[in-house]
Symmetry: C2
Subunit: 403 residues, 2 copies
């Protein structure tokens, strides 16, 4: 078993089998790339690695654009530096305690796409938003449904989320009203970050997933359900989603997730050939959603119907090309059990069955001051658990403006 | 009446009352900002204007970010240079015939949003896609419906458009099939380009439109109707639109459009206060859609129900902020008459009434090799007509890949 000379607590998300990338800064210094190990950030542009100038950049984009051979070269060198005592004296001065650094958005987002890949989530939402109708639309099992979101409002974990204002209309009201959303929600998701661009006009096959995708992050796709319900027919979600999307600061490399690979649920019917995987990219990640310190849900990512490789193939099958920094998220991760639902919309069944909290209070949707933290863990190499760190956000009150 | 010493043909889109900005290059040279005048491009970073280093950039973004005072300062200086004979000898060497230059995408696109602001278009599409139902959804007259598109596939006029492949399903077929789109279409639109960013969390009121928006372009939002029809419920258009969106190379400054301002159709009902305009930003632009050299439609932009200022206010009312380079398009421009429809979907009524062309052939949707050109003109200062140039694209055959 590979062990680092850096002390790694037993329950750490960041053993040497993980080595996720982020962008950090110290007070008065420029942001640059770091790698998490135990309780530390390794200041990776200063330890003699290849591609050091890419690693000194303010975003991961230059390094992500280098491609898989470079990613592996640096990962292997990092493992050597962090496991071989011979390197300790040279490397140790570049370890910084994580609680001393500020973390930044790790990559510049090019396009942002959000999918809808959990059958349990899509069925729940269908039942809540379109009662009396078939919960899944007829296309759902033939293609991974997705839509473009707002890249400019993707923010790093810790950024406060201002409660959005917008239009909403009660089903029996004659006209909409304007005001702060009364149904502010989360969506617990996993996001995938593109490193290597593709050629305009040329689809990326499922088998090329790991050639293009650099790694994965946690995503909280904050959602104003009342705004969304009124606006989304016929062109999809817009202002109900575009005010903020939070991502975790650490991008877990695909190579660290090799041991988490699993087969997704058996497809029925078989999808079209361009969506078939020989070696499926389902991932056995276990998510946890925490509200004000209390775990309210444990969504299982391994139950997602469509994988990230299928989503990539679908997203490009019309010739749309990839750019470095493209982010695409899985859609809300929900499992079959009530305690595995990745949104309050589902946990409280549209507000009809409020969630009971440990302090005796209940919660249907988020209140001002609420803090939501999403975490995830996965099997790593050598039988160790690797983690994603967290994506956290606290709800700030609406800024009341004109209506 | 203001006249330039540069000879401007009577029917030119580019009299001195226009002065649109683009990005051009000469063989072997770097792209840089130019301004169109008559048959020429003025090489504006070399004529002693303020902000010359911004104007030497490869995109308009640095100059657009400067804000309205800078835009006006440069515009006024340009008018002086191009109208006062005293400057002729210094400026004339920097005029380059337009047919000698290559035009580039004029700005780096941050986020791209597409609206749906023509009542005639939305009603037509409703009747075609959802026959037997109320053509406008209940929200349509309360808010400008919009959605995010793919910023990475916005291309400059002249870029070939490869026919996309995708899934489609006939209403009575048991399952979808994969292949080249059989219903490739256009959408004739007008796009607005954001120069000045806004603060995260802070809505931009309708009255601040001209503080943020730099100018307007023509947009062709290419659409694969068969792909779109199968995929778009419930999260909106995705692959049916994301393969290509073409824009004209010249960005017409808002200041050149002051004389085109007009009131949009009277709203019924009155919208919520945040969408009310004191001095409306309807624009009397007359569009022309040409298929293979023959005008097939003349959509009137002045008939749009929602204005660009209302769209900007709506897009930001939830606190989503603007970035330099944000592009938002009007949605298909269609008037009340059959000869004013901005898409073949409407012109051929879903393929049921093919368009008759001058050569005796008919067209429901686009064929390989078809060239579509969209133009527009508007009233400018001094009673002259100003033009937008054109957005052109030719359909290239699908690249048949795996299915």
């Amino acid at each position: 078993m590979t062990r680092s000379w850096v002390p790694v607590p037993a329950d750490s998300d960041f053993p040497v089998q993980n080595l996720p990338y982020g962008v950090f800064s110290l007070p008065g210094q420029e942001p640059r790339v770091g790698v998490a190990i135990g309780d530390f950030v390794l200041d990776v542009s200063r330890v003699g690695l290849p591609y050091a100038s890419d690693l000194a950049a303010r975003t991961l984009n230059p390094f992500m654009a280098r491609g898989r051979t470079a990613w592996r070269e640096v990962r292997e060198a990092l493992v050597r530096l962090l496991t071989d005592e011979a390197h300790r004296s040279a490397v140790e001065p570049h370890l910084i305690l994580r609680d001393r650094v500020r973390m930044h958005l790790p990559f510049e987002v090019a396009d942002y796409v959000d999918f809808y890949a959990s059958e349990h989530h899509a069925s729940n939402v269908g039942r809540i938003f379109r009662p009396g109708q078939e919960p899944l639309t007829p296309n759902w099992k033939h293609l991974p449904i997705g839509y473009h979101g707002r890249a400019g409002t993707v923010v790093v974990s810790g950024t406060p989320v201002v409660r959005p204002c917008g239009q909403r209309k009660a089903p029996d009201a004659p006209a909409p009203v304007f005001g702060p959303s009364a149904r502010l929600d989360i969506e617990a998701e996993v996001g995938f970050v593109v490193g290597v661009p593709s050629e305009p006009g040329t689809p990326v096959p499922v088998s090329d997933f790991a050639e293009h995708v650099f790694g994965a992050v946690l995503v909280n796709d904050w959602s104003a359900r009342d705004v969304q319900a009124w606006e989304y027919v016929p062109l999809g979600p817009f202002l109900g989603k575009s005010f903020a999307t939070s991502v975790s600061p650490w991008v877990v490399p695909l190579d660290a997730l090799e041991h988490a690979r699993t087969a997704p649920p058996a497809p029925d019917p078989q999808p079209l050939p361009y969506l078939r995987e020989d070696e499926p990219w389902g991932l056995d990640l276990q998510l946890e959603v925490e509200l004000n310190g209390e775990v309210v849900s444990r969504p299982p990512f391994g139950q997602m119907y469509w994988t990230a490789a299928q989503q990539l193939a679908h997203m490009t099958v019309n010739g749309a090309h990839l750019r470095t920094g493209d982010l695409y998220a899985s859609g809300t991760v929900s499992g079959p059990e009530p305690g595995q639902r990745g949104s309050f919309l589902e946990l409280s069944w549209g507000g009809k069955e409020p969630v009971k909290l440990a302090d005796g209070s209940t919660r249907s949707f988020l209140e001002d001051g609420d803090t939501v933290v999403i975490r995830a863990g996965a099997p790593g190499a050598d039988g160790v658990r690797i983690g994603f760190g967290e994506v956290a956000g606290t709800v700030a009150p609406a800024r009341t403006g004109q209506a």
